[in-house]
């Protein structure tokens, strides 16, 4: 997979500052409390007994006392977990850097606040990935060109490195931008940020917008009733969809849903069956521009799920992520294994999703390489297949138990 690797900015714990910046609390980040707050707010289970058994407090005692020590430590952790709240403010300093000036946009960027960047926090023998929900507002350092020239010279003298001093609170889990994936992604809200030089002098103070205001200003919440994938919706009559598909893409084939189909699916409408996926050894594999559509119909000939695919020449997954988040807003789930998968809307039965390893949500979008390595040769980049799927979640829930 050719995704640009997720970049890690390492936390510089306990970095000492000069008196000028000493007004900021020089306390070490309470990693355990970060983790506990995450587990408390998200409901992501924490095996307290296992964590206690591995703790330093328990490992220090004799084998004879280990059982009691484990119980005591587990109780201590449980009490901290119970007391964790979203109101707690944390403070951390992170080694960071400022980008080169973007002449088109008239701005610099703060490294940590770009999509895909996170602060790794080690707690209980695991890594937690700290992302900031309102990072986009804090990311840019806008500046007219002439002013930017002097600022850039200053950054060059610093090696473009700064200390990112962050005050934040934890608000939940998952990266709303869909760029940081995996388990234990801690969603936080920036409350205050300062960028400092080595002497502790303020280089820049980014603008901070509260999470609710920032989110509302960017995109509205996902609305399942109005959602579409490439302009197509669910809940429409198959006859109208068929006419539209024929006008846009050509021949449409009607078929049965198959014996193993989800309960309630009675038929399908298909455009360009298997025409968007390369098969090794196939004589004529699809080329960029190929479009495929599969719609699943219920017994009343109403569309209950629709999947639209298109093959592209190589296009970066970040372009894909950006376009999808712009259209649908903060993601409900994201996975990155062999490709990238993003999800929005309510959860649906796993049997309905396009990729079972991806988010199990009503609307999903997938980016994968269409790697026909046998015919493309070593010098050509792989094509990319983008799949958008929308499921009528309400209908599916009603039929899942039948």
């Amino acid at each position: 997979m050719r995704l640009t690797p997720i970049t890690i900015v390492r936390v510089a714990l306990g970095l000492l500052l000069t008196a000028a910046a000493a007004r900021a609390q020089d306390a070490q980040l309470d990693s355990a409390l970060v983790a506990l707050t995450y587990h408390k707010l998200t409901g992501d289970a924490l095996d307290v007994n296992a964590v206690a058994a591995q703790s330093e407090a328990v490992r220090r005692v004799s084998e004879f006392d280990r059982r009691d020590a484990t119980a005591a430590e587990a109780a201590r952790i449980q009490a901290r977990l119970a007391g964790a709240t979203a109101a707690h403010e944390f403070f951390v300093r992170v080694d960071d850097e400022i980008s080169q000036y973007d002449h088109d946009r008239g701005e610099f960027s703060v490294g940590l606040f770009q999509p895909g960047y996170y602060v790794p926090v080690q707690a209980f023998g695991q890594e937690y990935r700290l992302v900031f929900a309102n990072a986009e507002r804090a990311r840019p350092i806008p500046m007219p060109k002439e002013q930017a020239r002097a600022f850039d010279a200053k950054l060059q003298s610093l090696g473009r490195r700064v200390t990112n001093e962050i005050r934040f609170r934890i608000v939940g889990g998952g990266d709303p931008a869909g760029a940081v994936t995996g388990p234990r992604v801690v969603r936080a809200e920036l409350l205050g940020v300062r960028l400092l030089d080595r002497a502790g002098q303020v280089v820049y103070t980014p603008t901070i917008a509260p999470v609710t205001a920032a989110a509302a200003a960017a995109t509205p919440a996902f609305d399942a009733a109005r959602a579409d994938v490439a302009g197509f919706r669910v809940g429409v009559k198959a006859k109208e969809l068929e006419g539209t598909l024929r006008r846009l893409f050509g021949p449409v084939t009607r078929g049965s849903a198959g014996s193993n189909a989800f309960p309630g699916y009675a038929a399908t409408l298909v455009v360009n069956d298997m025409g968007c996926m390369s098969l090794p050894g196939r004589r004529r594999n699809p080329t960029p521009g190929a479009v495929c559509v599969t719609a699943f119909l219920d017994g009343d000939d109403v569309v209950r799920a629709i999947r639209v695919e298109r093959l592209f020449p190589w296009v970066d997954a970040e372009v894909f992520r950006r376009a999808l988040v712009q259209k649908y807003g903060p993601v409900a789930g994201a996975e990155s294994g062999s490709g990238m998968s993003l999800g929005w809307g309510p959860a649906v039965d796993a049997r309905l999703v396009y990729d079972r390893s991806g988010p199990h949500t009503a609307l999903t979008a997938h980016w994968t390489e269409d790697d026909d390595f046998m015919s493309r040769g070593l010098n050509r980049a792989a094509d990319v297949r983008v799949v958008l799927q929308l499921v009528d979640a309400e209908w599916a829930t009603a039929h899942a138990t039948r």
Partner: protein
């Protein structure tokens, strides 16, 4: 401190003027594309890697293959209202603040997004079944 490459800048959404008041909001209901009226336009040079980002944005918003019928654009089964402007340009409001502009350039059309991408559109040739 670890040194790592800076990634691609995220896009800013440019504000786009919405279509004039008075149009019925079709965003909440699907509308079948006309079976014969209007003209189908599609992304041109699909194999051109330089066009891929813009084509992807068009695909996500249903504009990679679109029926244009006067001031109506049918992106899949979503009818969008275009506002005609000078020099034959038509402005289409899309989801969440994104906008698009259809600009005639000779016999072809250019689709320009407010987020900065643009791609050429061509009249779709007749389907093999027609």
């Amino acid at each position: 401190m670890g040194r790592y490459a800076i990634r691609t800048m995220p896009l800013f959404l440019a504000a786009t003027a919405l279509a004039a008041c008075g149009h019925k909001d079709d965003a909440t209901q699907a509308t079948a594309a006309p079976s014969r009226a209007g003209q189908v336009w599609e992304a041109d040079h699909a194999e051109d890697r330089a066009n891929a980002p813009a084509t992807l944005v068009a695909f996500v918003n249903g504009l990679h293959v679109v029926v244009l019928d006067g001031d109506d654009a049918y992106a899949g089964m979503t009818r969008l209202h275009a506002t005609s402007g000078a020099d034959g340009k038509r402005t289409i409001p899309l989801a969440n603040g994104l906008g698009a502009e259809l600009v005639p350039v000779g016999d072809v059309m250019e689709l320009r997004f407010s987020s900065g991408e643009s791609l050429p559109l061509r009249k779709q040739p007749p389907h093999a079944s027609e």
